[in-house]
C-alpha cells in the first residue's frame, strides 16, 4: 500500500490539505509559547518560596515575570492553539477548504510578533496595571490586526459552508470569533485609550478577564468536546435537543458574571451581586452540558483506554464542571469572605484555562496533527507521559491550591496572626505549586518532541506514515430498540 492510496481514503483530504500549513504554524507557535510561558511561570512560582532566585536582574523580578508568564500562556499558547483548532474545525464542519491560507500566515506573524513585543514590553518595565492587559499599548493594534484576519477567516469559512446544517461546535466557535474582539477592543478603549475614571476601572477589568475566560476559552473547549465525543465514539450527543438552550443561556449570563470577581471590593454592591446571580444562573447550562457530554460518554468509558483525544477531552469536561462549581462557590459571599484574594482565586482561572481549555487543545492536537501531516505520532511513551503528567498536575494543583487558599484565607482573616507567619506557612504550598508546574512542564516537553517529529519537515522523515479508514456514518439512536431493551 503506498501513501497515495492511504491519502485517497483520508476523510475530507482537501480540507486538511488546505488547512495544513496555517494550522501547523498556529499549533507550532502555541507549543513554543506553552513551553516559554510555563518556564516563566515556574520562575515566578520559585521566587515566591526562594525570593533570591534570579532577583539580581530587573528583567527577571517577580513583578515582571509573573504577568509575562500569564500573558505568554494566555495570548501565546491559548490564543494560538484556539486559532489552530478553531480554523481547522470550522473548515471541517463547513465542508469547505480554508481559502487563501497564505493570509493566515501573515495573520499568525502579526499575532506572534505582537505577543513577543508585548512580553518584551512587560519584561522591560512598560507594562500597564490591568490584569491580562499588561502588554504596552502599541501592541494592541498589532494584535487586533492579526486577529482581524483570523476572525474574518473563521467567519467567512462558515458563511461559504457547503452543509445544510450547523452543528453545536460551530455555534461556539462562531460566537467566540465575535466575542473576543468585542471584549478586547472595549477593554482597551475603556482602560487605556480613553480611561474611565476611578472605581469603574476594576469593573471593566473584571468584566474583560471573566469574559476572556468565559466567552473565549470555555466556548472553544466546548466546541472541542461537542465535536470529538461523537466523532470518536461514533455515537450522537445524548439529549442533543437541550444543547441550544445551554448555548444561549451560557452566552447570555456569562457576560454579566464578571462582577462576581469584585465581591468585597469597594465597588457599587449591585455589580458584584449581579455577578453572583449570573454565576448562579450558569448552573442551568452547566447541568445541560454535563448531561450532553457525560450522557454521551456513559456506557462507553472503556473507549478512554484506547483514545488519547478522548482522555484529554474527558479531563477537559471534568475541568469545565469543576471550574463552574468553583466559580459558583466563589460567588457565595460567605465563602468569598474567606478565600477572596488568596490562591483559591488563582485556582479558579487556572481551572478554566488549563484543566478545561488547554487539555481540550491537547486532545484536539492529537487528533488533528496526524491528519494534517499524514504521519503517525512517533513515540507512545511520550504521548503517555504527556497525558499522565497533565492528569497528575491537574489533580495535584487543584487539591494543593484549594487547600492552600483555604488555609491562607483563614489565616488572613485572623487578626492575631502576623503577616510574616502566613508567608512562612505558605512557603510549603508555593514549593508544592512549583513541583506541580515542573510536572506539567515535563508533559509539555514530551508533547513538543512528538510535535517536532510529526510536523517539522527536517525531523519527521523517520516518522511512519498514517493510514486512515473512512469513518462510518453516524446513525440515529433507535428509540424502539431502546424501549424494548428497557422492558427486558
Amino acid at each position: 500500500m503506498n501513501s497515495t492510496d492511504n491519502n485517497a481514503r483520508t476523510e475530507q483530504m482537501e480540507i486538511d490539505a488546505s488547512a495544513k500549513w496555517p494550522v501547523l504554524v498556529f499549533f507550532g507557535s502555541a507549543i513554543l509559547w506553552l513551553i516559554a510561558g510555563g518556564a516563566l511561570q515556574l520562575i515566578a512560582s520559585i521566587q515566591l518560596h526562594t525570593p533570591s532566585f534570579l532577583a539580581g536582574c530587573a528583567w527577571t523580578t517577580y513583578g515582571r515575570v509573573a504577568p509575562a508568564a500569564q500573558n505568554a500562556l494566555i495570548y501565546g499558547w491559548g490564543m494560538n492553539a484556539a486559532f489552530a483548532f478553531g480554523l481547522w474545525l470550522m473548515a471541517r464542519l463547513s465542508a469547505t477548504t480554508l481559502r487563501h491560507g497564505g493570509w493566515l500566515f501573515v495573520a499568525a506573524k502579526f499575532w506572534n510578533i505582537g505577543v513577543t513585543l508585548g512580553l518584551l514590553g512587560i519584561l522591560g518595565r512598560f507594562s500597564t496595571s490591568f490584569e491580562l492587559l499588561e502588554m504596552p499599548r502599541f501592541v494592541t493594534l498589532i494584535l487586533l490586526a492579526g486577529y482581524a484576519m483570523i476572525g474574518v477567516w473563521a467567519v467567512t469559512t462558515f458563511s461559504i459552508r457547503n452543509t445544510e446544517n450547523v452543528y453545536a461546535s460551530q455555534w461556539y466557535l462562531f460566537g467566540a470569533a465575535f466575542w473576543f474582539p468585542w471584549l478586547y477592543a472595549i477593554a482597551q478603549i475603556m482602560l487605556l485609550k480613553a480611561p474611565v475614571r476611578g472605581v469603574l476601572q476594576p469593573v471593566v477589568n473584571a468584566w474583560y478577564v471573566h469574559g476572556l475566560y468565559g466567552l473565549w476559552f470555555i466556548p472553544v473547549a466546548l466546541a472541542a468536546a461537542y465535536y470529538f465525543l461523537p466523532k470518536i465514539l461514533g455515537k450522537p450527543i445524548a439529549n442533543y435537543y437541550l444543547a441550544a438552550l445551554a448555548f444561549w443561556w451560557l452566552v447570555g449570563t456569562t457576560a454579566f458574571a464578571g462582577g462576581s470577581r469584585l465581591i468585597g471590593a469597594p465597588v457599587p454592591v449591585w455589580i458584584s451581586t449581579l455577578g453572583a446571580v449570573a454565576n448562579f444562573l450558569l448552573v442551568v447550562p452547566v447541568v445541560v452540558i454535563a448531561l450532553n457530554l457525560f450522557g454521551t460518554l456513559s456506557g462507553r468509558y472503556s473507549a478512554l483506554q484506547s483514545s488519547i483525544t478522548l482522555r484529554f477531552i474527558f479531563v477537559s469536561i471534568l475541568g469545565f464542571v469543576l471550574a463552574s462549581a468553583f466559580n459558583l462557590a466563589l460567588s457565595m459571599r460567605g465563602f468569598a469572605q474567606v478565600v477572596q484574594f488568596t490562591l483559591m482565586t488563582d485556582l479558579r482561572d487556572w481551572l478554566i484555562f488549563y484543566a478545561c481549555f488547554s487539555t481540550a487543545m491537547f486532545g484536539a492536537a492529537y487528533f488533528i496533527l496526524p491528519r494534517l501531516t499524514g504521519k503517525e505520532w512517533r513515540s507512545t511513551i511520550l504521548v503517555k507521559t504527556h497525558f499522565f503528567t497533565t492528569a497528575l498536575g491537574v489533580v495535584l494543583l487543584t487539591a494543593g491550591l484549594a487547600a492552600a487558599g483555604w488555609q491562607q484565607g483563614h489565616l488572613l482573616n485572623d487578626a492575631t496572626v502576623p503577616f510574616g507567619d502566613i508567608t512562612k506557612v505558605l512557603t510549603f504550598w508555593f514549593t508544592f505549586r512549583s513541583i506541580g508546574l515542573i510536572v506539567l512542564l515535563i508533559g509539555h516537553l514530551a508533547f513538543l518532541i512528538n510535535f517536532v517529529w510529526i510536523a517539522c519537515p527536517l525531523n519527521s522523515r523517520g516518522t511512519p506514515l498514517a493510514s486512515f479508514h473512512q469513518p462510518p456514518d453516524l446513525s440515529l439512536p433507535n428509540p424502539a430498540k431502546a424501549a424494548t431493551e428497557g422492558h427486558a
Binding site: P268, V269, W377
Partner: protein, 217 residues
C-alpha cells in the same frame, strides 16, 4: 465498538463522518427522541431547574442590589429608599391620649384635674398611680358612691366603659393617665386588662371604693 483498537496512541481513527454528525444532530435537534411509552422526566426537570435558578436569582438580586445605588458598597446597607415612610411603633401613652381626649376628658378634663367636688382629679391621684388592679376594674365596670381622692371626698357615679373600649384602648388610656401631668407609674399592659375582664365573669354591678380597697394594695 471503538474506532481505535490499538493502545499505542499513534493516531486516532474517526468513528463517524463529519457529514453524518451534522445530519443526525440536526434531526435530533428538531425532535427529541420519541419515548415508546411513558413520560420523559428530563425536559420537566430542566424546566424546574431553570425556574428555580431564575426565582432564587431574582430574589437574591432584589435583596442585595440595594436599589442599584452607585454609592452603596455594602450589601447589608438599608434597603429602603432615602426619605421613604417607615412604620415605627408608637408609644402606648401617645395612643392612649386619643382615647382619653375622646372619652375620659369629658369628666376628668384634659388637664386631668377633674372638677372640684364633682369629678375627682387624676393628676397626682394616689388611685391613678396606685395598683393597676383597681383602676382597670373601675374603667371596666364603673364606680358608684363615695370615694376619697387626694384627701377630698367625692360622691358621684362613673359609667362602665368595658363594653365600649377594647383591652388595648383601656391599657393605653390608663398608661397615658399614669404617665401624664407629672404622674409616674408603670405602663398598663393589654394582657392585664384581658385577664381582669375574664376574672369579672358575669358581674355587671359597678364597684364601690370600699370593695376596691380590699383588692390589691
Amino acid at each position: 465498538m471503538s474506532a481505535n483498537s490499538d493502545k499505542d496512541f499513534h493516531l486516532e481513527q474517526g468513528g463517524a463522518s463529519d457529514d453524518s454528525i451534522q445530519q443526525v444532530h440536526a434531526q435530533l435537534q428538531k425532535q427529541k427522541p420519541d419515548k415508546a411509552n411513558g413520560y420523559s422526566f428530563l425536559p420537566l426537570g430542566i424546566l424546574g431547574l431553570m425556574c428555580t435558578a431564575v426565582f432564587f436569582g431574582s430574589i437574591y438580586l432584589a435583596h442585595y442590589s440595594i436599589r442599584f445605588d452607585p454609592l452603596v458598597v455594602n450589601e447589608h446597607a438599608k434597603r429602603e429608599k432615602p426619605g421613604a415612610v417607615v412604620a415605627t411603633a408608637v408609644p402606648p401613652a401617645v395612643l392612649g391620649k386619643k382615647v382619653f381626649s375622646n372619652i375620659c376628658a369629658t369628666c376628668h378634663q384634659a388637664t386631668g384635674l377633674g372638677v372640684p367636688g364633682v369629678y375627682p382629679p387624676l393628676a397626682g391621684s394616689e388611685w391613678a398611680q396606685g395598683d393597676e388592679e383597681r383602676i382597670i376594674r373601675i374603667v371596666l365596670l364603673g364606680l358608684n358612691g363615695p370615694i376619697t381622692v387626694e384627701g377630698k371626698e367625692f360622691n358621684n357615679v362613673m359609667a362602665p366603659l368595658g363594653a365600649a373600649l377594647k383591652d388595648d384602648q383601656i391599657a393605653n388610656a390608663l398608661t397615658y393617665v399614669r404617665q401624664e401631668w407629672g404622674n409616674k407609674a408603670p405602663e398598663v399592659k393589654a394582657e392585664t386588662v384581658s385577664r381582669i375582664r375574664a376574672e369579672l365573669g358575669a358581674r355587671t354591678a359597678p364597684w364601690t371604693a370600699a370593695e376596691l380597697l380590699k383588692i390589691g394594695h
